[in-house]
Amino acid sequence: MGSATLKGLVPWLVALLTMAATHFLIVPILPSTLSEILVFAGINIVLAVSLNLVNGFTGQFSIGHAGFMAVGAYAAAWATLALRNAGIDLSDGTFIAQVILVGALVFGGLLSGVVGFLVGLPSLRLKGDYLAIVTLGFGEIIRVSLLNLDFLGGARGLSGIPRITSFLLVYLCVVVTVFVIWRLIRSNHGRALLAVREDEVAAESMGVNTTQAKVRAFAIGAFFAGIAGGLYGHYLTILSPAAFDFNRSFEIVIMVVLGGMGSLSGSVVAAVLLTLLREYLRDLAEYTQVDLRMIIYSLILIGLMLLRPNGLLGTRELKDFWRRRPTGKSA
């Protein structure tokens, strides 16, 4: 029994050591520009992976992810601002600030999840294009509501949010998100989601409550989108409704489609790739004198979609490629 408990502790110890190593060894030597880009990449990973659960694994095409992100972002920011106004020191780097931020993130995530549940309940009875339009409309509703909510700053946006999102916390959220969704799709519930994607009628006849499965995926996806929103707000220190328009939703959809609908590692790769690409194409503008970033970005997207219509990884994961290699050679 003793050794069993010890064994159970090993993953936690490894996790703790990795976190300590990241915090004390990697963060200090990371150039600030790179660290900032990586933070945005991390936030995009959380967004892409959570949307993949809905779009890729459950096969429900949602294009309202920015709306959930906005709910989480505003809720978390509202919470920390309320706490700061109550006199709690939230200056950058204090341990308390990190703990409070985690609380605020969970609060934002839960609220976003609840909204996801409420939106999902009626709309997930729709399919395909109809669902896409409903989710798009929902995203716009959130944005327009935020514009008209004065206590959240309205059009002026919510500013003065403490800048307490740390590199470590972002990647902790990335790990948690990927881990939770990875375990989920390999569980009973996850199989139900895959069944819904493959054939809804067949799934239903096998006893899967399809509506419930879809709503569940939707709510979980919304939860993580909310967390990503919270990280975003506490990094940028300002939230404005304009930042959560449908363009943002499409950016996330592009990451998912590019990485491969139904591939977790694909989403991760695509999120990192697209974030880095947009930033590093800036260097090119120094030689060409014209900003060709968006043109090249679009060309790459078109090219990839022509060459690999299923996305970079399709429905497979990165590790599938490493496993296949030796067998492929011997055959």
């Binding site: 514009l147 002026r156 800048r163 304009a242």
Partner: protein
């Protein structure tokens, strides 16, 4: 097999991109101390407010070229490194970070829109790099820290100017407001207008709203028409204002429209046509100003870009000139010295008026009121703070 090879190629490209960037960083890091003073600019050269970013940049570029032709600053050439933010906050933030850490800029010029300035300011502040915004009018921008400045007046002032103008000059006792709730700028102006107008004794008979992408304003205008206001305050951007003016005239509303610097674009006449005639707006400067300083600026700008500079170009020009002046007075690009010099700016003769930086790091300077006449703006009066 084929797929994995493709993936490998892609990853390699990613790494190469990553590496070239690191290479750049070291050369960039070694260079700047020598021959030039590097100043960063962040603007929206693409996206919804692209014309604002481009106009501002042309103003900054003109100022820089003139300065360099005249021998530069402190014996060095001034170099502007500009980054586009596509009108997005996070792009503005990453661009600022890049300018500071990679290009080691002495100061940053930007942004036009307040919400993007607010995303940039905390980064400039925490790195202690002075930042001068040409035309972010939201009061909170410079409150972010003591390294953040602006060379324009703030929303409450602009709103108050129009309120006083409506009450005192137009003798209007009843005014209706039609605000764009989707723009922080419009809401700020409308709130300030309301506050001052009520204080001086006027009555706001109606406060209607619309959002950015609306094109039909008949419902709001019909409601306003029934109340017979003597003027209508429409603090929006030129596209909607043009449409609002047209629809108001179609409905038979004769009251003049009042607005702010968001009207300042040649597009206003294209869209509004005759309907905008007889309206008034507040602005940073007037091309009609007969002073030599302004007329000279307009002439040089026209030579360089073939158009009459709008308010944003003038603001961009002044932002750059105030910064250069501060560097000259500071005698170095040391951040602390430069900050103090900027804060000490007094009565700098800019094309948009005499600029004095007050203790909140805002510019205090008069606003001009212009009238729309014969397809152009004509100067009516100046109103001091």
């Amino acid at each position: 097999m084929k797929t994995s090879r493709f993936l490998a190629v892609l990853l390699t490209i990613g790494f190469v991109l990553g590496c070239t960037k690191k290479g750049d960083q070291t050369t960039e890091g070694g260079k700047p101390a020598g021959s030039s003073i590097v100043i960063g600019e962040v603007g929206s050269f693409t996206g919804d407010t692209a014309t604002f970013g481009i106009s501002t940049h042309q103003g900054i570029e003109l100022a820089t070229n003139e300065l360099n032709k005249a021998g530069g600053l402190l014996g060095k050439i001034v170099e502007i490194v500009k980054y586009d933010n596509q009108g997005k906050e996070e792009e503005a933030a990453t661009a600022t970070n890049r300018l500071i850490n990679q290009h080691k800029v002495a100061a940053i010029l930007g942004e036009v829109a307040s919400r993007r300035s607010k995303a940039m300011a905390p980064i400039a502040q925490s790195n202690k790099v002075p930042m001068v915004s040409p035309s972010s009018t939201n009061p909170e921008v410079t409150a972010i820290g003591d390294y953040i400045f602006r060379v324009c007046f703030i929303d409450p002032f602009q709103g108050a100017v129009m309120a006083r103008f409506a009450f005192e000059n137009l003798k209007a006792k009843k005014v209706a407001i039609l605000r764009d709730v989707g723009q922080d700028y419009s809401v700020g102006l409308a709130d300030a207008f309301t506050e001052t107008y009520k204080k001086v004794g006027g009555e706001i008979v109606s406060d209607q709203s619309y959002t950015e992408k609306d094109v039909d304003f008949k419902a709001q205008l019909t409601a306003i028409r029934g109340l017979n206001p003597e003027a209508i305050f429409v603090p929006g951007y030129y596209t909607q204002v043009g449409l609002i003016a047209r629809q108001a005239r179609e409905l038979g509303i004769k009251a003049p429209l009042l607005g702010g610097d968001g009207w300042d674009s040649p597009k206003l006449f294209e869209i509004g046509g005759k309907a905008v005639e007889g309206s008034y707006l507040s602005n940073h400067y007037s091309p009609d100003d007969k002073s030599e300083l302004v007329q000279n600026f307009i002439k040089r700008y026209k030579e360089a870009y073939g158009q009459i500079p709008d308010g944003l170009a003038a603001q961009g020009y002044d932002a750059a000139m105030v910064l250069f002046d501060a560097i000259k007075r500071a005698g170095s690009t040391d951040a602390k010295a430069l900050r103090d010099a900027l804060a000490a700016t007094k009565e700098y003769p800019g094309v948009t008026g005499k600029i004095t930086i007050d203790d909140k790091r805002n510019a205090s300077k008069p606003a001009v009121v212009l009238k729309v006449e014969n397809g152009g703006f004509s100067y009516v009066t100046s109103i001091s703070p």
